[in-house]
């Protein structure tokens, strides 16, 4: 066999591997899923499976405490949690499904992020109220394929050492005042804090606002997380930040405050189980527990992840209420797609 033959053979094999795409997951639906009628039956079936693989866009420090509590309540079901962004998890699930080997059982993601999974019918439909007290009424979505888990609002914060109370901007138009021109604002260059304004204001008004905001010569940041750090450090008096980061910085007594600019948008995060999960009962048990009142209370206590909607009674809701902030969330895929489209327009304006 010559070297050329070896190389050509490899080339061919790899070509076949790389190009042999498939549109449908080939792993079979594991047996025994969906037959449990109560949480006790579900636990018994989960124990037989022995473990559950969960991907979550949540810091390991927080998830390890969730795992400890889960293991105490349901010994015999080992939870392996991987901390990965929702977008990367969805991409991984689609790739694994196309490759015919799904390794992930359950996860959580924003409504906008899981659209590819819904389109490919990769989510399991579960009768959640049978297993958990945290999935009633409005908390069930996508026809039982997901449970609304928590909200992540994007807010406009300020540095209290750089800005007097009287100078704090009160509404969106205040950000266009001359006093905030020239490096006075840290703005997320992806525009994900502003896409929803297109739905509320209309496309033209939103685009003009984005252009005016850019004319203020803000400091563009690649991600929200850079905003809170640089705001607290005093690089600029105003920044776009995500609420859970804001809450933690406020708890550290960082010089940050919330502007009353509203409405602000919030991403709705849902918990779900995959249709082809290798451990379907353990996956259901995990999601049922995590979304139960007990699981939600713990999640809020250790990580400030909670529902922000009026009536939820969460600390997050109280914070928003105290700041007199109303939030807007996309409730349907159509709204998600529309918000996404407008967000990309804002991103284009910022990027040009």
């Amino acid at each position: 066999m010559t070297i050329r033959t070896v190389v050509l053979g490899l080339l061919l094999a790899l070509s076949m591997a790389a190009c042999g795409g498939t549109s449908a997951p080939s792993s079979a639906q594991p047996t025994g899923s969906g037959t449990a009628e109560s949480i006790d039956q579900l636990y018994a079936a989960a124990k037989r499976e022995g473990q559950v693989t969960v991907f979550a866009p949540t810091p390991t420090e927080i998830m390890s405490q969730m795992v400890t509590a889960f293991n105490q309540k349901y010994p015999g079901v080992k939870a392996n949690v991987t901390d990965l962004t929702a977008g990367q998890t969805v991409e991984r699930i689609v790739t694994e499904s196309a490759g015919g080997k799904v390794s992930i059982d359950a996860s959580q993601a924003s409504l906008g992020t899981i659209q590819p999974l819904v389109e490919r019918q990769l989510l399991a439909k579960v009768d959640w109220p049978k297993f958990t007290d945290g999935a009633s009424g409005d908390l069930l979505t996508l026809d039982g394929q997901a449970i609304i888990y928590y909200h992540l609002p994007n807010v406009i914060a300020y540095n209290s050492q750089l800005l007097k109370e009287s100078d704090v901007p009160k509404q969106w138009d205040d950000l266009l005042k001359p006093q905030f021109k020239g490096g006075k604002m840290l703005i997320d260059s992806r525009g994900n804090f502003a896409g929803f304004l297109g739905i509320l204001w209309g496309q033209e008004k939103m685009l003009q606002y984005a252009r005016d905001l850019k004319a203020q010569q803000p400091l563009f940041i690649p991600r929200m997380v850079d905003g809170i750090n640089r705001l607290a450090a005093g690089e600029a008096p105003i920044a776009t930040v995500s609420m859970n980061n804001y809450v933690r910085f406020e708890a550290k007594k960082a010089p940050v405050g919330l502007t009353p600019i509203q409405p602000v948008n919030a991403s709705t995060f849902v918990a779900y189980v995959l249709k082809n999960a290798p451990h379907p009962n353990a996956a259901r048990l995990w999601v049922a527990w995590a979304s139960s009142k007990e699981g939600r209370a713990l999640f809020e206590k250790i990580g400030d992840y909670a529902l922000a909607t009026p009536g939820s009674g969460s600390h997050l809701e109280k914070l928003l209420s105290d700041a007199k902030l109303t939030i807007w969330t996309a409730k349907t895929f159509e709204e998600v797609a529309q918000e996404d489209k407008y967000q990309k327009m804002v991103q284009d304006v910022f990027g040009k």
Binding site: I3, P59, T82, G99, G100, P222, V225
Partner: protein
Amino acid sequence: MSVALPALPQRTFRLPSISGERLIVAAAGGLIAYFVLAPLLMLLFSSVKSTADRLPIEAGPLTLQNYARVFLSAETYRLLGTTAGYALGSLAIALTLAASFAWALERTNVPFRSVLSVLLLAPLAVPSMMMAITFILLASPTIGLVNVILRGLLHIEGNSGPLSIYSLPGMILVSGISMVPSMYLMLSGAFRNMDPALEESGAMAGASMRRTFTRITLPLMRPALLAACAYFLIIMVETFEVPALLGQTAGIHVFSTRIYQATHPGSGLPDYGLASGYGVVLLALAAFLILAYQRIIRRSERFAVIGAKGYRPHTIDLGMWRWVALGALLLYLAWALVLPLLILLWASLLDFYSPPGLQAVQRLSLANYSHLASYPNLDLALKNTLLAAVVAAAATMLLASISSWMAVRGQFQLHALPDALTFLTLGVPSIVLGLALIFLYLTLPIPIYGSVWILIVAYVTRFLSYGSRIMVAAQVQLQRELEDAAKMSGGSWPQVFRRIVLALLMPPFVNGIVWVGIHAARDVSLALMLYTHDNLMLSVIIWNAWQERAEVGVAAAFGVLLIAISAIVTFVGRGWAARQTAHHTMREARVQGA
């Protein structure tokens, strides 16, 4: 004056007829092809797949739309213009500094050489994102430490300026400075291996030190310098952190920020088609550079300076200029290592970052360091990181050594192909490489998906291009007669390769090990792409602390720890390499004396 390099007969080194020896080269070539072909094929395949709302591995029509989006867009050419200015500017700074430092530290009597050569590599351990942030904290118009000090010294009113890091010159300066350690590592082995006899001849003929440097040293270093230029030009075009944090802040956009936007959408799946279209532009640039490079080294004998005559290490006496060289090195280290390290140390002692000042001093504590010890799964991450760094570095450099030997010495068909292929992988964006590997190992019956071994494969694939460049540049310095003599004395090919080639090229080989090991340990993009519960890496923990929890203090504490570990590893590795080289030189001298 010019020096005539020794003319050597054009002998060919044919592959031995023994099948076992052929097999080693064939196996190495096959392994390299195995590593690099999947990502290359995935890139080309993705570039012609319609990837609207789907991944390239899913069923979908073929299309040229991605190329149309890339090549028919005026934005592409605008981005290319800015990118070219940014990349070439950074390259010019890095090359000037790295080549000067390599020459000074390897060939002259500048004081404290061994310590300085280790310190010069210490910034390698800091992840690029962290390095970019430290430069913001140093030179941001408002909170930058340098600006705060300058405003005080120059009595400037207001809370902004006088310097701004958010500009194209700022980006070029930061990137150029950040690239010096990697480039120094690539060049220092070649400078160290150079036979000083030619320079001595020049000096004896009355040439000044500058003339000797420009007319003898630099021409002999041409393969190493060109290798570094080719490699780092592509790297600069790809680099994301500095353009994202410094350029984007000021509204300056380059090629890599566009790829990032395509592959990190707010919702839905990444736009692999567009990212691959841009990747193919990089691939074309890489192909042009590698072909030009191989053409230049075709007559490798012109650059061969390590011969059978043996030579003793010799240092050039700089006289009083050695203190000037020391000053330049210290100035660089102050800007590239000391100030960022001080900023990292400062940040690691705070719960949230504040510029140095009396108010912040009251908040200093060691809480972030004590937090490190209790970090969940830290032991697993350390074990995985160590394993991935060591195995990937060793495998990469071994394969790179063989592929470079094939490229320089091989006389069989396609002998230079593995080397060219490794270089082409530079054009493959990390996200495409990650996708190719996931899909490949979901499909092949090789159970490494989800384990640390898939990361090792990824790192070998990603870093082979660096290993090859460093080893090809060193290989062309090696005169053929050494291997011929060993062969004629009855040595088998593996013996000749191990005891002659690798032994003489130990300094660049170890430099490559250090570079690959550190880069594998600090990589974030592939580690995140292939991340599961079992193959957690330290870099992922740092990234998550920084990017999800906004815990700059914890991430900075990890950064300080990484710098300390990498300094120790570098010191030990380079010390070992120096001892090996000295041992080899002494043995050679003894043989000659006998």
